[in-house]
Symmetry: none
Subunit: 195 residues, 4 copies
DNA sequence: TATGAATGAGCATTCATTCAT
DNA sequence: AATGAATGAATGCTCATTCAT
């Protein structure tokens, strides 16, 4: 129970960090406020994370992993490449809507801390691209897609997908997301598919 | 000469701001360093800009305007929609390569300052989208493109284009940009064009 | 003990503030020095007072209240008006000598901060005048004093009393205060003119 | 004319200094503003005064001298001591009302600059006291006044006189000054006690 | 002589981090 | 383990002063 309690507290702090960092950005977020939101003492934050920076990075990493798992999890074999990408796009959209704060951070914060973190971020992005690229390669191999540059295709897909985020998070036109995803995917698939 | 001298100093500060802000982000950038890079006294920065925040915003706005003009300027009438978009993509790429620092800022900083600036940023993004959308609409009207949702298409185009930025700026594979642009555009156009 | 400790620290800072402010005035006094004199960290000052200005005002108010209480406390009923005023003058003198620094501030600083503080200062002065005026009114009612304008008399008394301050604080003739108070009071009570 | 022009400019600056210093105090007053009010360039201030501090001191000294001359000027021989003091009090009152700003400074600013200035201020005060003391001594010698401690009497007189200033300058009861001076003087001359 | 653009020393304030309890 | 009072390094900004014109 003590162990669970600890894990609990760590989680509480991470959740508070997501909320506060996502709303204020790294520098405007104060450790004091995170501690308050987490309902723990300020010193306690430092029991679990050695610094504000480390807290941010841990949270960021956890968020990214969570995102990737979220998006990956339902990509069961047996689906066509198009089905997989469509599923992925829907999961991406769902993630943004459901974990708005987390999404805001993992998708927009670009704070530079140190080489290690930069590397990790870069590699994390690479993992996402690789995931998409593999599906596209499957599609190509299976004759479903044209024989395009699969890395370029993955970038285009990810970029197009990413363009949905700002309209959702920053504007008020809340109704439109779903109606935005379909046509965007339509263009990408039309571009990818063999005629 | 005095007038030129003044403009010169303002410009020097803006250039230094681009460099420092782009490399460190808003909060890590120190006014001291910007002044040093601009080779002026710290107080001089405050002669031309009332605060660090105002300096950032001025620089950001100037950068955005510069980008849009850069990208808009060669879109002469008489070109097909595809030619226009291709041209735009090439100009985007050229901008990124030529004005690396400026691009890094205008394309990635998302610091929140105040509602006015948020609005300006949002509207600036909207201007970019509108520009693309109009070209796509022309293409649809002229029978060049399929009858797609032109706003969605503009988002997809802009997103795909945007996905080229990180590989260029953050990785070392400098050779690849040109070879990346073609296939990405290929997919978008295949998606857009009527068969 | 913790509570006492806190009160202790706040008090230490207030005492240091009296010393430093009184010797240098508001603007020449540096928060750094106050902290040093109080033997606390600079940040600690801001734990107890939200700003240098607030610290000054708190200190000033506390000093004024302390002065009034000091002067008021021994004015027991049963004394004649003349005895009361004499007592008050002696207490005033004692206060100046004993709390030199505090006196220097409460009696000479006239820094304008904001309307609230101005008002408070004004009202505080008014309280002092009122206190004196009442005693004079008693004296008039009791036939001890002539039927003078009691407010004007209070001002004259206070002004005359105040004129002792500079010779005491700014000159070196330390011996003379006591010998100065008597004749000044004598004039207030008996006037200049020969009958 | 050039010489007059210079003198003119110096005077303009001094007048502006009186206005600005008196309204804001030494530290809140900005050289920039003084220059603007004087309608000269900022650099010009430094042509006539070596520093802000020197400007203040010059202005203060000039103001004090002006006050003393103002108050001294009509004390023609042939008047009784009481007449002289009454005249002096009226002139004091007139000075306050007419040269409100200058009065505010010469009578309330207590900024510490350096030993020389402190000394000058102290001596200036001493001059005022001496002036009064001499008149009182005359009064005593001539049998007009009781044989009081003339220095103490001078202090009391000056203090009582000084007590009129705050009600005039800081409160709104503009009507009352004249009606305040008479009873205050009455007390100084006749004392509080019924004979 | 007059100017005001340029300067940088100086300071109030913030906030991540520590550590005694 | 948990806390939050205490700390001081770090920085944006002001403004008296200088000096080239």
């Amino acid at each position: 129970m003590s162990q669970l309690g600890e894990e609990d507290k760590r989680q509480k702090i991470l959740k508070a960090a997501v909320k506060v960092f996502s709303q204020k950005g790294f520098h405007e977020a104060k450790v004091d406020e995170i501690a308050q939101v987490a309902d723990v003492g300020k010193g306690t934050v430092y029991e679990y994370f050695s610094s504000k920076t480390e807290l941010f990075q841990e949270m960021f990493k956890a968020g990214m992993d969570f995102y990737i798992n979220n998006v990956k999890i339902e990509l069961k074999p047996g689906l066509t490449a198009r089905e997989k990408l469509t599923k992925m796009a829907r999961l991406h959209l769902r993630f943004i809507v459901k974990y708005r704060d987390l999404a805001r951070i993992t998708l927009t914060e670009h704070t530079y801390f140190n080489e290690d973190f930069r590397k990790w971020t870069y590699e994390s992005r690479a993992r996402k691209i690789e995931l998409i690229k593999q599906i596209i390669d499957e599609g190509i191999t299976g004759g479903e897609f044209r024989s395009v540059d699969s890395r370029a295709a993955a970038l285009a897909f990810m970029g197009a997908l990413g363009s949905i985020f700002p309209p959702i998070v920053f504007s008020k036109e809340k109704a439109s997301y779903k109606s935005l995803l379909e046509p965007i995917m339509d263009i990408i698939f039309n571009g990818l598919e063999s005629k």
